[in-house]
């Protein structure tokens, strides 16, 4: 029985101020999949992600991770299986040093100090940030912070890795290394992003969300080359698929 399962069954969510952010989301993700989530701003991407680790609880419907249903009491267990990397690394690196940040998760899992040290070392090695171990987060560059933020989550060895805009505000080189990183992971992956080229590079499957509902679910290569579908969702073809002819100078 595969434990790397994420299932949403008719999940609805309404914010305290009345906004209906999710209107019946249903999908299933199996072991080893890499899934992109795209959509216009305000479509519900972030709200959806926040349900995956129990940060938000559905107003109705069910979320199941492995065999564990998402309930208030099962949140700690869910959070051990689902690791979420939020948009802003500054919000996730809250400890005095990189080492402390990456160790935070494993220590909360109750691991003994030497196992924690192993996990930290391994996670930092995987993201290429071993040299940064003793630095305080505010001495890191944007790309370094993103890498370390990912390390803080993979140190907990989750079954599913969820990421919200992993390469936003990164320079091209850092962005490229994040893409390489994600491709090297064996976790099941869910990536929400406006960066359609990143989704194309990292994800095999793609969900399109509009107004709190899923309007498309299929192979990323197909969905992301459907210009009409993308346009309906305030999106464009990924740049790599746009085939721009070379121009002589600036447009007049």
């Amino acid at each position: 029985m595969s434990h790397h399962l994420l299932e949403f069954k008719d999940v609805r969510f309404r914010y305290p101020d009345g906004t209906e952010a999710l209107k019946g989301i249903t999908f299933l993700i199996t072991h080893g999949e890499s899934v992109g989530i795209v959509g216009a701003n305000g479509a519900g991407k972030s709200t959806l992600l926040l349900h995956m680790n129990g940060h938000l609880l559905p107003t109705s419907g069910a979320v199941t991770v492995g065999e564990v249903p998402l309930l208030k009491e099962t949140r700690p267990e869910i959070r051990r299986k689902v690791g979420v990397v939020f948009q802003n690394p500054d919000d996730q690196l809250f400890m005095p040093t990189v080492f402390d940040d990456v160790a935070f998760g494993p220590l909360n899992l109750g691991l003994p100090p030497d196992r924690v040290r192993e996990r930290v070392h391994e996670a930092l090695r995987q993201v290429g940030a071993l040299a940064l171990s003793d630095k305080p987060p505010h001495h890191l560059s944007g790309g370094e912070k993103s890498a370390v933020a990912i390390a803080t989550v993979i140190a907990m060895e989750p079954d599913i890795l969820v990421m919200d805009e992993p390469a936003a505000s990164l320079d091209p080189k850092s962005r490229r290394s994040v893409i390489g990183l994600l491709n090297s992971f064996h976790h099941s992956k869910i990536v929400a992003s406006h960066d359609l080229d990143l989704i194309l590079d990292v994800c095999a499957r793609c969900l399109v969300i509009r107004d709190g509902a899923i309007v498309a679910d299929g192979r990323a290569a197909e969905i992301l080359s459907d210009a009409t579908l993308l346009a309906e969702n305030n999106l464009e073809l990924p740049l790599t698929l746009q085939g721009r002819p070379a121009r002589e100078g600036p447009r007049r």
């Binding site: 939020f86 919000d91 005095p96 040093t97 160790a103 987060p137 001495h139």
Partner: protein, 269 residues
Amino acid sequence: MSFEAAYSGLGRLDRLSYRDTVVHRLDPRAKVVATMLFAVAVVSFPRYEVLSLLPLFLFPVLIAALGDIPAGFIAKKVVAVSPFAVFIGMFNPLFDSAAVAIAPGVSVSAGWISFASILVKFALTISAALLLIATTSFPGICRGLRRLGLPALFVSQLLFLYRYLFVLIEEAMRVVRARDMRSFGNRGAGMRVFVRIVGTLFLRTVERAERIYGAMLARGFRGEIPSMRRETLRPSDAVFMLAAGGFFVLCRLVPVPQTIGRLLGGLAG
């Protein structure tokens, strides 16, 4: 001090604190205790003492030299923060005008001597405080304070403050720069705009705190911030504290400059 100047001074001290020298490697507890003892020793000198204080300069001088901290930087900061002490101290010559002879034929009002004493004490204590942070990272000091017995709750939020200090300062700088670029002369820098800036920053801060809390929960936080370090005092730390403490006591009990002067006088004549 302008915003930018304050920020860059802060940044420089912060970066200095993470260097690796023999002083940096001392246990934070040892350095905190030594610096506090130093301050107590300095202020324990009576109000008219000036000369006997001078040997104590060896402490900050050694720390700066061995810790590779630029002397000019420290000196400039000492001068920059002197206004209050100078302002209060400079009344001493006005109110304390009894004449004292300090050398044959040279007499000065006692108030000047107590003012000089204040200035010397100021230079000593302030440079020692700056050198403490210059040679000990703030998180290191916090860990030391925790080991010395301060409550965990207080130390945890001290660490959070420090972590987000630069983030908040940068946010504030951006807002202030936006304000300054859109105001002509002084019109924009009034209180109403200030209140709005502070209000906005406050709301953003609260929202950030909520996101941070969410991130903490996502990694299993259940109320206690876990820690792993077990730093024990080493012989070098003990030696440092004893040597420093001994030196302070010596300077307090023995008037070093006068003794040296007398010895020289004895040699000469």
